[in-house]
């Protein structure tokens, strides 16, 4: 009797392949597997980089060789063989493109499957999209419009060529090369990414958006993003990811650096949907990301992330609140299902006086997955009257999933106010039955309940992203109640 929806749904889900699991057949210009100085020289040469950039990479490589992969996260995975990875792949594009019409039709189809119709994006949403296909940016739009305001939004490769003074000034200042194993690796081999500069006093009139996509089989993706908001400026930056299905693990070690100068504001939103692997976790993306921003006087950095993908996630978007009266925010929804593992959270480092930070973290664990929040709130002696509020909630969808919270609080100034709230709950059978009794099916019931739970975070996202994020949450949790 009763509803046997659970079994049905489980069956469907295990039978359902990853929605964005397709690959585009585009000829690739690919480096042989392995990492050594020659490969780095090759990457640098392919990208026609100036000497200083190559030098920077080689130094990073030297540092990386002395470092060890961290084993403190609450993660269990087979460490990648870094010599088995190919560190460069570029779609073969014979000439520079002037408009979207010149883009390879195959590539365009991929974008459309991802729901990124660039024309639509351009016309309707006013989003400038810098689409990164593998490692080389193939299409950039809205650039001229932005240029009128003095805003620079381009690929990192282009920035190295066109704006070396800005790149040299800021690259590696927020996430130093030797910060950690993955940031060192990224510094040595990053192939592309995005660069954004907002001049003094300019409010960027549109959401800047980059869609990343791993495409070449066996290619690690090492993105490097740098956003600099000059004094009194404002920018909202969106980053969204989908990845195709793969048999072997794919490594993704990105570095994102944000610089908010005096009275500037940066809002950085991410929807992450890398391939999570099959039901056993085989073949999913390893996502080891270092994201950090520095806040100068009266500036604000707000991170919002919706993490639903990857087999393994290691990610702590952080804020260094250096300037007095600066504000850091972190809003996160992390969903893990099947055999996924996530160890994510934030660091709020309070250095300036009257600095404020807010942390809202919502973890959702389903299947046999493990979801950890790891956060550090550090109030340094100089940070008089610093304040932090943290709220870390965990929602368990099954008896076999795990939620873990590792909050670290270090207060070295007696005037600080730090609040931490945490809850763990299991999704209510009563809530689900209530929905079912109203004629709402099990999938939609879970979607409603979970989106309600994550609402505080989803509300932080720009409108068009919020809709996408809601869909992702539902897709990620299909058939996950047990």
């Amino acid at each position: 009797m009763a509803y046997d929806g659970k079994d049905k749904v489980l069956e469907e889900v295990t039978g359902k392949s990853y929605e964005f699991g397709f690959t585009t057949e585009i000829e690739s210009d690919k480096a042989p597997a392995g990492l050594n100085e020659d490969i780095i020289r090759m990457i640098s040469a392919k990208k026609e980089e100036p000497e200083w950039m190559l030098k920077w990479r080689l130094e990073a490589f030297a540092v990386w060789q002395t470092m060890e992969e961290p084993d403190w996260p609450h993660l269990n995975y087979e460490k990648p063989d870094y010599q088995a990875i190919s560190y460069y792949a570029a779609p073969k594009q014979k000439k520079q493109l002037n408009s979207l019409d010149e883009v390879d039709p195959e590539l365009r189809r991929t974008m459309e499957k991802l729901g990124i119709s660039m024309e639509e994006q351009k016309r309707l949403s006013g989003v400038a999209v810098d689409f990164v296909m593998d490692s080389v940016s193939v299409a950039t739009s809205f650039k001229e419009k932005l240029a009128e305001l003095g805003i620079i939004f381009c690929s990192m490769s282009e920035a190295v060529q066109e704006h070396p003074e800005l790149v040299r000034k800021h690259l590696g200042t927020v996430v130093p090369t030797r910060d950690n194993f993955f940031s060192a690796l990224n510094s040595a081999v990053f192939t592309d990414g995005s660069f954004c500069y907002i001049p003094k006093g300019v409010r960027c009139p549109m959401e800047l958006s980059t869609y990343f996509r791993i495409n070449e089989s066996g290619t690690g993706q090492f993105e490097r993003t740098l956003v600099v908001a000059d004094e009194g400026s404002y920018v909202s930056y969106l980053e969204g990811c989908t990845a195709p299905q793969r048999d072997e693990n794919q490594l993704h070690a990105a570095v994102v650096e944000l610089v908010a100068l005096d009275e500037a504001e940066i809002k950085y939103s991410t929807v992450q949907n890398w391939y999570p692997g099959d039901a056993q976790g085989k073949g999913g993306v390893y996502n080891f990301v270092t994201k950090r921003g520095i806040c100068h006087r009266r500036s604000k950095i707000s991170w919002t992330q919706v993490e639903t993908g990857s087999a393994v996630t290691w990610k702590y978007p952080s804020c260094i609140l250096k300037g007095d009266h600066s504000v850091g925010e972190f809003y996160s929804v992390a969903v893990t299902n099947n055999a996924q593992q996530a160890d994510t959270g934030t660091k709020m480092i309070h250095l300036g006086k009257n600095t404020h930070s807010t942390i809202i973290s919502k973890g959702i664990s389903a299947g046999n997955s493990h979801n950890s929040y790891r956060g550090l709130v550090q109030i340094m002696p100089s940070a008089a009257n610093a304040r932090n509020f943290s709220q870390c909630d965990s929602l368990l969808m099954t008896d076999t999933s795990g939620a873990h919270t590792f909050p670290y609080i270090e207060v070295k100034n007696p005037t600080a106010q730090v609040e931490h709230e945490a809850t763990t709950s299991k999704i209510g059978e009563d809530q689900i039955f209530y929905c079912l009794q109203r004629g709402i099916d099990a999938e939609q019931a879970i979607s409603l309940i979970v989106n309600g739970y994550a609402k505080e975070v989803l509300n932080q996202l720009p409108m068009e992203f919020a809709v996408e994020a809601q869909k992702l949450l539902s897709i990620s949790l299909e058939g996950s109640v047990g």
Partner: protein, 250 residues
């Protein structure tokens, strides 16, 4: 409308319903009364398709189809509504969005397009009047922070929105003050019609002063042991259940 034949059901291996028979015709209002633990709420849950309960035997025909063959969602979409004794809170999900999902679920079942935004809002406005559910409550998260009376009014509002064929009210009167009881009852009465049936489960005769039933049944130990007209409720109020229990055992 509803024909229950020798229904047996258990939870955690304890049999609660032990061969229950009940027939409800279109337009009729049936009340089920009975002492604590007699199986009243179990009957409501089993009919609604709650999966914690195991059906051990018997059959239930709902408007010509085998009710026990459907899952909870299908039963709801087919027109069975349960007003919960303890309505559930769903934080972060607005009452309006919740109802839109429900209404569209039913429409999908009927082969209709999802309801248009304006039509939906007009419908909400109209139905909310029935139970005096103001805009503030409509836009808040489902039942979150609602008083006991507000929750029950919200149940009746949802019932009005979904226009079921059969509405089961599971102790809807519990926790209601006299004013809320009046509002809720008036909402229910406004919905009485020749093709809609009600199964009213209650402990107290009080509710039946407002929602006057056509039939009253007494449930004892998983079976209906006595049936009568509305006057039976008054008799029960006066004499309690013991005389019926004695009758049964005698």
């Amino acid at each position: 409308m509803l024909t229950i034949n020798e229904l047996k059901a258990s939870i955690d291996d304890a049999q609660i319903l032990k061969g229950l028979n009940l027939t409800i015709k279109p337009g009729e209002v049936h009340a089920i009364m009975g002492p604590n633990g007699s199986g009243k709420s179990t009957l409501a849950s089993v009919l609604a398709g709650r999966e914690d309960y195991e059906v051990d035997g018997g059959s239930v025909d709902f408007d010509g189809v085998d009710l026990l063959d459907m899952d909870a969602t299908e039963r709801a979409r087919a027109g069975l509504f349960l007003a919960f004794q303890y309505p559930v809170e769903i934080p972060g999900v607005s009452n309006i969005n919740f109802m839109r999902a429900a209404v569209n679920g039913k429409r999908e079942h009927e082969g209709k397009e999802p309801i248009k935004g304006k039509d939906f809002l007009d419908m909400v406005k109209e139905k909310a009047k029935l139970v005096e559910l103001d805009g503030r409550l409509r836009n808040r998260s489902v039942n979150e922070g609602f008083s006991g009376g507000e929750k029950k009014r919200n149940e009746i509002f949802q019932m009005a929105m979904l226009e079921p064929k059969l509405a089961i009210l599971d102790e809807t009167d519990s926790g209601l003050d006299i004013d809320a009881l009046r509002i809720v009852s008036e909402g229910v009465n406004a919905m009485r019609s020749p093709d809609r049936s009600f199964l009213v489960i209650t402990h107290y005769q009080r509710l039946l002063d407002y929602i006057v039933p056509d039939f009253v049944h007494v449930l004892v130990d998983g079976r209906i042991v006595h049936s009568g007209g509305k006057e039976l409720a008054l008799e029960l109020e006066e004499k309690g259940y013991d005389w019926i229990k004695e009758d049964v055992t005698a």
